[in-house]
Symmetry: none
Subunit: 216 residues, 4 copies
């Protein structure tokens, strides 16, 4: 393990600044969070993308959101096999152990993962099609939705619509999990689909009545 | 899709507050991030736990960190099979497409996933041992490290040490990815292992020279 | 060129320390900065004064801020003539080539340049009034603002207010540059005026609504 | 002045962190610096480039270096005319008012300004040749040195050598200032020429005996 390195000093400096201010001013709350455990009211599934900060957009405090972040905020369908399922594990923990009341899927504009999936669907990304591409195999989850946007000629508009479909696909796949479906039916859990425009700072919510996304 | 619901109004309100302040004050920067794409200097792998906010601890701006969050901040070993690998996809994207310079694994105290793994290793968690438990199968990744802490009698101390071992296991597994290993050897990527104490606001860094974690 | 001398040994020693620690820990990031070029999100214009460290105040990492430092953090008005304009060149490069999103003018307390301008305005500095004084001719930029503070009797308070006016003057002059004005109007650039109190560690931000500086 | 905006919140947060740690721990020193004035032992002239941090390389404390930063760390020759001379003003203040003992010119690799000058000298940059280009007119200072590197075929090597010549030109121009020349001759001031390699973390010092730069 000789490869592990000390933390860059500017991050050490910023950490000490955080400790002396934010932590220090909220010490009692942090101690309670440690002693009593977390009790988040919502789970958020968003993208790893560095431009998406759900805690910033929603002014979230420590302890409010249980957050899973993966490439393109995807939820694969419920599957029982011998494989590891990191996303499914996070959802299982949030819904069955923490009993969150809300489950929010947050998509976003300029998503590199979604763009990669479009490239695959158009036959332009042999490197992602390769069996050993982790990103390619992950984005396969979204492929079935491509037919809903295949006819859109403007490529930027097509990408924006496909990003929204990634949210819809994740919501649909969430309902294939028995524990999600039953919590939703019991009224203990509600699902929400969002899409944010990074450059414009917009936020749209999926409206089940129209099947479309509307500005909140 | 009748199950999807509108966003809770307190979140709508907070979003509008963010848009009128943070977004508005940084509009130019958000537009550039959208137009030019992200260029994060580091990837962070942390836990979904609602009490762990890496952007807060490090005063991070939008665009600085590419963040993957899963249960117990685990990196499984490199595997080539037909399964989906969400964590591996995130690492592949960060290292090969974004070419991040730092990869930070951030563990934390009071980790529910790590505690579940201890319970399994002690034979106290049949529900996690069940084949259909996503959390159980995910935490299997950490099981081989249990021998390093099995002899610790104080259960709280044992958990703290096992949480640190989760970071070490992830660092070791990272090095089984050919593209991580080669980037580290070329000096293009450095790995860092951290553990934070939620209640005390502490931050420790893994020191390869001693094999221990030290306060930064 | 016989006058050039070797570097003092205490600086050589510190450099080697930096190379073995900070550089070594961030090697991958430095290499990327060299290969891919800088992409700073902000330009800062501050004083040469040795007591003003913008990178320290803001925990800035290498690559974050494009920094121009001159006497009294002044921006002269936009001028097209045959003369060299070092400050204008730095602003042009930051805004048109690097397309920074923020432009911050940082003033400070105990500013020797601003004090010199007060002395000139009060007729107490013939040596600065002399045609050959570079400092005097440079500080002429600020003279028109003296009327805003001429009535303040307490000389320390007058100096503090004039330092803040130096920031306001620079912001106003920035808007005379066509490329700054158009970037601001397009929402691609935002301007910020700050003043820091060296002894107290205070930081104030210019508030356009009140025309005053307020603690951040 | 409606265009001036509040400071981005992540910078506000970092500032408060700095105040609670670095400032707080060094309060007495900051207060002395404010009360007694600065007494820097050296002036540094370096580039605005965000990748060049002289305070980091030399572990500099508040109060140590009087720093002027402009495009390509250039010193124009001594000139007496009606124009403003920001760089000359900074040098005059450092040498005659502060009486610094060292004057260091720090060049660096991958310098955009120097590259622009090469492009002009090769006839490839009509936009920089345009009369209204501030960067172009500023970089004219370096043009006379191009003949020393014109014969180098490898363009990267040519740029590295021209960056070093920018340091030499600045040193030579410094000696055209009567107050610099006399301070050097009196043994009250020594000049130093440095060049740093951003990616490799290297530091070279100009050696007047050989006319070359050598690793320190």
């Amino acid at each position: 393990m000789e490869f592990a390195r000390p933390l860059p000093s500017y991050l050490v400096q910023r950490y000490h600044g955080w400790k002396a201010t934010t932590y220090s001013e909220n010490k009692a709350w942090y101690k309670r969070l440690a002693t009593e455990g977390q009790r988040p009211r919502a789970m958020v599934i968003s993208c790893c993308d560095s431009r998406v900060h759900v805690t910033s957009i929603f002014g979230a405090d420590q302890g409010e959101f249980f957050i899973h972040r993966n490439i393109a905020n995807l939820v694969p369908p419920y599957e029982q096999d011998d494989a590891r399922h990191g996303t499914s594990a996070a959802i299982e923990y949030a819904v069955t152990a923490l009993k969150v009341a809300h489950l929010i899927v947050l998509g976003h504009s300029q998503c590199g993962g979604v763009q990669g999936c479009i490239d695959m669907c158009k036959g332009n990304a042999p490197q992602l099609e390769a069996k050993e591409s982790f990103v390619g195999r992950w984005m396969d989850v979204l492929k079935p939705k491509f037919e809903t946007v295949a006819g859109i000629e403007d490529s930027a508009e097509q990408a924006r619509q496909f990003e929204r479909q990634a949210v819809v696909a994740s919501l649909e796949n969430l309902m294939t999990f028995p524990f999600v479906e039953s919590a939703v039916k019991e009224g203990e859990l509600s699902l929400h689909g969002l899409w944010t425009d990074i450059g414009e700072g917009g936020l749209e919510c999926y409206d089940p009545a129209t099947g479309k996304f509307h500005e909140v």
